[in-house]
C-alpha cells in the first residue's frame, strides 16, 4: 500500500537514464523487462504502438509474439501459454477487451495468471478513439460471466505504468489470476520523460503448470465442475482468494489530505487534472486534497470510508458518465456529500471545470455543515471490518486525534 509518497529515492544505488517515451511503448518495454515470455495482440487504436513495439522487441529477444486473428484468438493463445507456466501478456483497447471477456472468466475460474492491458477509448460500441475511463465497470465488475474479480491497476503517469507492469505480473503469479492494467488513451499516446528503471519479478516454479505428465499423473487446468457442491467449494476458494487480495494488495495514493476540507477522488489522467485544480483551489484558500485509487479493484473502500468521516465533501472526477463514483458512494455510505464531474466521448475535464465543481460542492457542504455533523452519524455495521493499517496512514490518525474536522 502506498500512503503519502516519500519524496526522494536513493539516487546512486540505481543510476537511471531519463528518456522521453510514449506511454504505449514504455508499457511494452516494461513488460519485456518484467520477463514477459509471450505477447499476443490484435491492432486497435489507441494501443497499436504497444503491439508494434512488441512485434519488434519480442522477436529481437527470441521471445514469442503473435498478431492473432482477433482478440479472441489473442487471449486464448495467452490462456494456452499461461497454462504452461509462461509469463504472458495481451493488450487491447475497449472493444477488444469486450471480446476477451469470455477467456478472462475461464482464466479466473481455472487460476491461470496473465496480464491484460486496456488502453481505454470512448464507447459504447465502436465509439471513438479518444481517451476514456468508461471501462471502469467492465474492468472492476464486468467482462466475463460468473463470480470472479481481477485485480485492476490504474497508473496516473507513464513512469507509474512501468512500475505497475512488474506489479501486475507479480500479482498474477502470486494469486493465479488475470490482472488488468487500465490506462486511458492519453497515457497510452502521450510522451513523458521516464526513468528507465525496470523490475523483473522473481521466477517461481508452479506445481500446476502443464509441462507434460512425465513421472506424474496428468494435470488439468479447467474451470468446469458439474457437481454443484464441488463448484460451490471452488467458488468459495475463489472468494477467499479475493478477500486475501483485498486485504493485502489495495493500493492508493493521498495528496494534500492532511488539512483537506474537500477531497477529490480520481484515478489515471483524471487524477492529474485534479491535481492542477487542487493547486488552483488552494491558491484561492479552498483546502482540497486528492485521494487516488491505484487499484480500482480492490477499491480502497476502507481508507476512503475513514477519510469520509473527517472531510466535508467528496468530488469524484472521471472520464466517464460516473462509474467509479458508485464505489465512492458505497464506501462513503452517506457520511458526506459525494458529487461527480465527468466528460465523455473522448473529452477530458479541464481544471477550470473541476474548480467549478469544487466550488459548487463547497457551497453545498457549507450549507449542511454543523459542528454536530458527526455526532449522530453512528458507524454503520459492515460485513467486513477494516484491516489495521496503523503505520501507513498518519494523516488519518492525526485527524482522528483532532476529533474530526471543524
Amino acid at each position: 500500500m502506498t500512503g503519502e509518497r516519500e519524496p526522494g529515492a536513493q539516487a546512486d544505488a540505481n543510476r537511471r537514464a531519463r528518456v522521453l517515451m510514449k506511454g504505449n511503448e514504455a508499457i511494452a518495454e516494461a513488460a519485456i523487462q518484467a520477463g514477459c515470455d509471450a505477447y499476443f495482440g490484435y491492432p486497435i487504436t489507441p494501443q497499436a504502438e504497444l503491439l508494434e513495439w512488441m512485434a519488434r522487441r519480442m522477436l529481437e529477444l527470441g521471445r514469442v509474439f503473435i498478431q492473432a486473428e482477433s482478440e479472441l484468438g489473442a487471449i486464448n493463445m495467452a490462456l494456452g501459454a499461461a497454462a504452461t507456466g509462461a509469463r504472458v501478456m495481451v493488450s487491447s483497447s475497449s472493444p477488444g477487451i469486450s471480446l476477451m471477456a469470455e477467456a478472462m472468466s475461464y482464466m479466473a475460474g481455472s487460476g491461470t495468471p496473465m496480464v491484460l492491458v486496456n488502453i481505454m477509448r470512448a464507447g459504447p460500441g465502436l465509439g471513438g478513439i479518444g481517451p476514456s475511463q468508461s471501462d471502469y465497470f467492465q474492468a472492476t465488475k464486468g467482462h466475463g460471466h460468473g463470480d470472479y474479480r481481477v485485480p485492476v491497476l490504474a497508473p496516473a503517469s507513464i513512469g507509474e505504468a512501468m512500475e505497475l507492469m512488474a506489479t501486475s505480473f507479480e500479482l498474477a503469479e502470486r494469486y493465479r489470476t488475470p490482472v488488468m492494467l487500465v490506462a486511458d488513451g492519453i497515457l497510452g499516446q502521450a510522451m513523458e520523460p521516464v526513468d528507465l528503471r525496470f523490475r523483473t519479478p522473481e521466477r517461481q516454479t508452479f506445481d500446476w503448470a502443464l509441462t507434460g505428465a512425465a513421472g506424474r499423473p496428468g494435470r488439468v487446468i479447467k474451470s468446469i465442475d458439474l457437481d454443484p457442491e464441488v463448484l460451490e467449494r471452488r467458488n468459495l476458494d475463489l472468494q477467499h482468494k479475493y478477500r486475501e487480495i483485498a486485504r493485502r494488495e489495495t493500493r492508493w495514493e493521498g495528496w494534500q489530505l492532511h488539512d483537506a476540507d474537500l477531497v477529490i477522488v480520481a484515478y489515471g489522467t483524471a487524477a492529474r487534472v485534479a491535481r492542477t485544480a487542487i493547486e488552483r483551489a488552494r491558491e484561492k484558500g479552498i483546502r482540497v486534497g486528492l485521494f487516488r485509487p491505484i487499484t480500482l479493484w480492490p477499491f480502497p473502500s476502507h481508507e476512503l470510508a475513514r477519510l469520509s468521516r473527517h472531510v466535508g465533501g467528496i468530488l469524484t472526477v472521471e472520464l466517464s458518465a460516473g462509474q467509479m463514483v458508485e464505489d465512492v458512494r458505497l464506501a462513503v455510505e452517506g457520511r458526506c456529500p459525494v458529487a461527480f464531474h465527468g466528460r465523455m466521448g473522448g473529452l477530458v475535464p479541464t481544471p477550470d471545470e473541476v474548480m467549478g465543481a469544487l466550488k459548487a460542492l463547497k457551497g453545498r457542504v457549507d450549507r449542511i455543515a454543523s459542528p454536530e455533523r458527526h455526532a449522530h452519524m453512528a458507524p454503520v455495521s459492515r460485513w467486513h471490518e477494516p484491516p489495521e493499517r496503523t503505520e501507513a496512514e498518519p494523516w488519518i490518525h492525526e485527524r482522528v486525534r483532532r476529533g474530526g474536522r471543524r
Partner: protein, 281 residues
Amino acid sequence: MTLHTPGPESPAPGASAARLIYARPEVLRDRSTHYCPGCGHGVVHRLLAEVLTELDLPAHTIAVAPVGCAVFAYDYLDIDFVEAPHGRAPAVATGIRRVRPEAFVLTYQGDGDLAAIGTAEIVHAAARGERITAIFVNNGIYGMTGGQMAPTTLLGQKTTSSPFGRDAALMGYPIRITEMLAQLPGVTYAARGTIADVGSIGKLKAMIKRACQVQMEGGGFAIVEALSNCPVGWGMTPQQSIEHLKGPVVEAYPLGVIVDRGAVAQPTHDLGCPSPAHPEA
C-alpha cells in the same frame, strides 16, 4: 492391432503360448466414460491413447480439451490437459506450441466447436501452419447441448433445432471444413476417416498416427477428421447410427487423405512479396 503395453498382464517368460494382443494402453484411465452407449467419442479416445503410447508421447503431451461432449477427455486420458473455451482450442494450442517448442501439442474438438463457433481459430492456426495435431470428431450435431443442428448436419437431417429437417434455403449447406483447411499451405496433413467399422477404425488410427508423426518430424498443421455417430442426438439405436454413418454420412464426407505435403511445409514463393515492404528492415 499390435500394441506394446508392457504391464502386469504381460505373460511371464516361459508361460504357455498365450500372447497378449489387446490391452488397455496405460494412458487410457481404467474407468467407464460418461458417453452414451454406442457413442464414437470413446473409440477415438482409445485410438488416440494407442497412438500416443506407440509413439512414446504421453509424457511430452499437452492437450487441449474442447467444449462439447468430449469436455471431460482429461478424465479418460492421463496426460496434461487445459480446457479451452468453446471453439478456441486451436488458439490455446498455439499459445502452448509457441512457449513450449519441445512439447507434443494436441487438440480434440467436435464439429460445433471447430466448424461453427471456432471457425476463425481453426482457419488461422492452420494458416499459420502451427505445429499442432488436431483431432476433429464430426458427428454432424451438437451432442452436448441436446442434438441441435451443427454446420456439418446433413441436408434434410432432423435435429432439435431443425425439426423439419435441414433446409438449404434456410440453413445453408453442410461444411466440408477439412477440405477447406487443406487448401492452406500451412497444413501439412489433412485426412478424414471414420469409426464406422473395424476396417475403417484401423485406417483412422493410421491417419491419427501420421498426423502425430508430422508434428514430431517438424511439419506444420495436421488434422484428422473422424466421422462419428451420436445415436442419442440422431434419434437412432447405436446399430442404426452406424448404418447411417456408413451410408449418407460417408457419402457426404468422402474418406481418405486429403493432403499430405510431407514432413516439412513446402516454401510457397508464389505467395511472397516481390520487394521488401520496409527497405530499412
